[in-house]
Amino acid sequence: MLTRLSGGHVVDPANGRDEVADLYVEDGLVVDPPANGRVADETIDCTGLVVMAGAIDIHSHIAGGHVNTARLLLPEWHRAFQARPGETALSKVGWTTEETGLLYAEMGFTTVVEPAMAPSSALHAHLELADTPIIDKATLVVLGNDDMLMSMIREGESEGAIADYVAWTVSASRALGVKCINAGGSAAFKENVRKFDFDDVVPDYGVSSRQIVKALQTAVTSLGIPHPLHVHCNNLGVPGASSDSIEATIRAAEGSPLHLAHIQFYGYGTEGKRRFSSRGQKLAELVNSTPEVTVDIGQVMFGQTVTISSDELRQFAGSKQASPKKSIIFDHEANGGGVVPMNYKQKSYFNALQWAIGLELFLLIEDPSRVFFTTDHPNGAPFTTYPDIFALLMDRSVRAKWLEALPKSVVKMTSLPEIEREYTLTEIATMTRASPARLLGTSDRGHLGTGAVADVAVYRPDADKAKMFGKAAYVLKDGELVVKDGQVVKRKFGRALTLRPEPDKAMKTRLDRYFDDKYGLSARWFEVPEGALGRDEPFKVVPCRA
């Protein structure tokens, strides 16, 4: 069936387009306009509307053991638990797999990456993703606190051997990339270390965080994994130390690609009488001058949320500020992690400055293709706050209104009031479509060129940008109309995008023995068999680079 989206304003920066044009879709793909005068079977009138590729979220905690523990820990915020649901952001968030898929689709998002899948929780994560409707999904698998990798580095094993281990892990867990979370920090915490810097060494391994990051960066590059190593730095949230850690990590990129996650949480200095200040400007300058790095923000928005992280050390530290006062800390294999509820308050100096630092970074990092749109859902805020963040980026009068509501002490500590920049539609499309696809190596999406998957989001322009991006006028997924006027009109299941590097046979044999001997577990339990998910075609394989 040939579908024509007629007369819309096509914003497709990947193909240099910003014009009123028709878009044709057939058999799930974007196609050339028919040459032979063939008439479309169906026409969607997009006159006056903005047409973009479906948005891609590169970092949102939507599935897996830790996410599910957050659901378990916070029943009070599920809508149905209360007779009269509170108007907190979490009461509006998609808290089940089903709501996650529907709410993302309604905003025009069609691909979402779960960025912290433990190898031991891969099947669990993929089971949840298989239950998440409409959107395509992908995962990053977490390495960097695992005994195997740290032992290999300690023993001076070859880069090739380490790459074989990484390839096996990516392949078994069906990941699209590799993430490293407080490299060595969780392992050190298990030995009762309470603070861990980039050049600190993990007790008993004598291996530093820097060595772990570099070893993984080398392995990811040599395997041709398109997405650069995705790094969650040490000392998240610690004034001063956080900014030192991220600076050291960015400098350690040394010309090779590296992605730094939720950098807002590292933009903290120690100036001022509260010993908490913005280093947003300085961090943005460093990002601007280091072209090999990409970053996402992890914007904080106000309201009740919950933090979900495999940074066990920092989650333990953060559990002292839990609100409400309860948390779950995991001592699992490798990373472990923690789930800590958090209530970001507009009237709090600290929380309000966190909000401002995130926006400083968004607005001071010049190249929209190197900065990605995230709240680190739900760590900075639930993804349902995205429409408000689009408005804050695109409209400085909106920022001015928000700033007025903040404590005066905060406004003095941020450069935000002086920043005039407003994101254009093209910049928004670059940040949320074209660049994420390039970053992930998923060239079949993020643009509207011929042959792209027909994931399309159509928005009704509005002076109120939150309104415009909150409810898409139309969303097509693989060429099918799934959302109309902000409401899901058709339910279907997308797929998980995965790499499938061919694992080395000797490494497979070695790991079979390793998991059996050391952990008393079968290596097979770390694998995600296609048939286990109970869906037709649950995966779509993305090629590694040659």
């Binding site: 599935a63 053991g65 996410v67 599910n68 659901r71 378990l72 820990l73 916070l74 029943p75 599920h78 809508r79 149905a80 638990f81 808290w95 089940t96 797999t97 089903e98 031991s120 929780s121 099947l123 669990h124 089971l127 949840e128 239950d131 005994d147 915490f189 298990k190 030995e191 009762n192 007790p203 008993d204 333990f316 559990s319 839990a322 006062k325 309860k326 948390s327 779950i328 800390i329 995991f330 001592d331 699992h332 294999e333 472990g336 050391k518 952990y519 008393g520 577990l521 079968s522 097979r524 339990w525 694998e527 995600v528 068999p529 048939g531 286990a532 109970g534």
Partner: protein, 372 residues
Amino acid sequence: MRVDTAWIDGQPATPEAALRAAADLLDSSRQPFVGGLRTDVIGLRSALSLARRIGAIVDHAGSAAVYPFIVPARESGAFLAAPAEMRRRADRVLILGNAAARTGADVIRMLTDAEPDLGAATRAGKRRFMTLGSKNATWPGAQETAHVDCASEEIVDVLGMVRATLAGRRTGEGALGEETVATIASFVAEASFCCVVFSPAEFGELGTEQIFGLVADLNETTRASTLPVFAEADAMGAALQATWTAGFPLRLSFGRGAAEHDAALNASERQLSGAGEADLAVLVEALAGASPATLEAAIPAILLTADPASAGSAKVAFHVATAGRDQDGVLYDPRFGGFIAKTAQTKSELPSVAAILDALAEQIGERARDAA
């Protein structure tokens, strides 16, 4: 010879007739209950989907074993470990109560079978165990085991005194005396990584909260975590799956559309006894070794069972495959602390739980369309 796979009132029937009879029962039910839930992830996915469609109350037959864990964990938090990590890391293991050694035998064996080999401080020596419970209970045959004799019902109080001792407060006279309490306190406090193993069902919600509290206290200065063990690990897996599917760890009702959770009102025991709202049950008993021979339900039931001997006790029954044995399946494994894919040992011609429940949902959907 014909092999029967479906029954109506205990009499063999074709699967088609049984599906029609089951749909008739659901049609005339004011409040159905979907329970048992002894199946794998794919079977449970279908059970939850059917429950949503028919507005059912949902619970697992073994939820009573996991709720004494779930309630305190979500009300006041917890430190939780993976058995495999504790196998490599814990230098001291405290086993509480009389039930853990039995219900957590597989998990405890992971700790007794190997010595810690991770961590500068923990891997040096042999793992030491302390057991606190009745001397008549079965204990793991570990080398370095210190046993403290204590009645099960005294343990929670003793742990309160251990916490007081660790906090430097006076404890007063308890069941064991100050010296024994001090011995337990130093056993856990002097560990480099202490692992506490217990069965939450033995201690209830408040007792479990006390155990989590002790471990939280320990983490102020050293490292410690817990391994709760359950009589029916499968119920834990089902609770997790219900949480991502419907937002709550079972004991929920789709009676008003969106899932609503009430741990007391929607409990399996209450609904099956006839004291609850349910007037009809859809029960899934399709895991190896878990199916009861006769149903203990005071309300009429539609049964999906791996054991045809139990078919007679239901209004309508289906013989289904056992996931992970007759068919590939995904099951929760307590040793892994997560879901694992299990390959079938034999290939069975029996229908899967999902196939029957999906067919039933389909019938009901068709009838609703016809009526509209």
